[in-house]
Assembly symmetry: C2
Homo-oligomer: 330 residues x 2
Amino acid sequence: MVYVLLFFIFGLYVLDYHYKDNRLNQAAQEGIRGSIDEKYVMVTFQAGIEYWKSGLKGFEDAAEALNVSVEYRGATQYDLHEQITVLEQIIARKPAGIAISAINPQELSATINKAVDAGIPVVLFDSGAATSKAYSFLATDNYVAGATAARKMASLVGENGGVAVMTQPNQMNHQERTRGFLETMDREFPRVKVEAVQDGKYDSMSSRQATYELMSRYPNLKGIFATQANQGVGVAEAIQNLQLDGKVKIISFDTDKATLDLVKQGSIAATMGQGTWKMGYWSLQFLFHVKHGLVAPGSGTEANMTALPPFVDTGITVVTQGNVDQFYAK
Amino acid sequence: MVYVLLFFIFGLYVLDYHYKDNRLNQAAQEGIRGSIDEKYVMVTFQAGIEYWKSGLKGFEDAAEALNVSVEYRGATQYDLHEQITVLEQIIARKPAGIAISAINPQELSATINKAVDAGIPVVLFDSGAATSKAYSFLATDNYVAGATAARKMASLVGENGGVAVMTQPNQMNHQERTRGFLETMDREFPRVKVEAVQDGKYDSMSSRQATYELMSRYPNLKGIFATQANQGVGVAEAIQNLQLDGKVKIISFDTDKATLDLVKQGSIAATMGQGTWKMGYWSLQFLFHVKHGLVAPGSGTEANMTALPPFVDTGITVVTQGNVDQFYAK
């Protein structure tokens, strides 16, 4: 009986030791993780559109890896005041962090600063607000994207001949894409001439019309770079109608379904895919790092731009017939 | 007896259940962590200089957080062939990842590509190699650093008067710092005139001499921006010797001890602190993410620039008398 009891106690001891030892190893190896009641919020505008899906997936994937929670919110419309109201509501609930794509580069700053001043980490993704106190901005470097498009276009037209740009002249990101395209052509491909920079007015119908005019003025045009997806669709329709499909090389922007279908068919030779998953993934990582104080020694919340890298270029992937399939939303 | 045995078995069962349950929770909450036998290597040149310490600290801090190991290697001299040899040796041992500051923007690419082709993740930090297959480049955006210096200088001189730049005209990063300074002054501060851009030849003696010449040509000069630390020291010495200390505002670059001492004394009004800790920290995070496949869906090792953000601006902190103490190496 005594032996049985001793055996029993020994059995308990061994198991308990094993359990403690295991916990000790865990402490040394626990890695980077949060708790499930930490909630990080992603805020957009026109919240229902396809464009945000991949960024949200990145945000969710990082949250899963780090064992924290996420919520997706946004203005339903393209409406500044609606986005401000949504942001105010979120701040009131004191989440662990906020990643926001700003509908306007100036008008969101006061509300963003209110969040930062209340101790809530904020990063910007996709569309920035340079004058705000947000810790970081994660987005496509649009100048580099334009340069990448120029190199692809040069290659498509054999580094020789006339090309054109279909853009939106009043919006910063489109100006940068155009500037990157023009300056890279000028510097690296002296035999490619950019004949015209056309206003596609952000929609496919205007871009179709503008393409007809362009082709009648420059009938030997070998390529058109559209800096925006709707414009790319309009250019492709015009080129198809003119039966110049394949002869005039089209480069477009983004990876919405309509554009991908035209890439798959071969009407659009290439489209510039933005690193939206990376915007979401690294936004959450950055917020988590500020929340948990995993930042440069000495960088307080006051010196907010020093805690994290102030800018991350999430890059461009050139999407062609060869790799288009992996870009359809799953 | 039977009861004792039953009790014993029940005891074992409860403990074991408790243990399993705990493991289950761990699995759900395990966070991001590696194993201690994963070794990540940081590679520099002139490996013993003070400049690398903070970047290595960031690399080590990330490794500790992620439960992986690090090693620091580098060419002892400013020697391309030595760095190539060191890199070749490291590749042969197949580490989990390599973060390298390239001594030369072209000549390292073949060896870097060899590592990437062998399945070893490589990122560049501080000094890049644009044509290599490295996954990312984490560094100061030198144009932005120059723009930041311009805004600080404008503020120091009351947004009015003549200033000058002491730089190294043949090196890319210094050209970018100068361009950022000039263009920002031009665009944002029309009443500040940059009178001269002088060659400081990368050392304090030449910069001292160049400052004497500058001050005799432009006796009303209100500020000098030195794009490099040794040059900043030379400028400060000249201004002290001319007894113009405090009258001519000096902005320098980097946070070596000599520069920090001059900031503390008030001879140098501000110096541009690079985000070296962040370069190291996020280099290790990035390598870990590639190694563990925590990257955008569909981005294989072939499409290496798409797995991670291709560029991270690690930012600038303006170091003044007010915050200088936290920048001394601990």
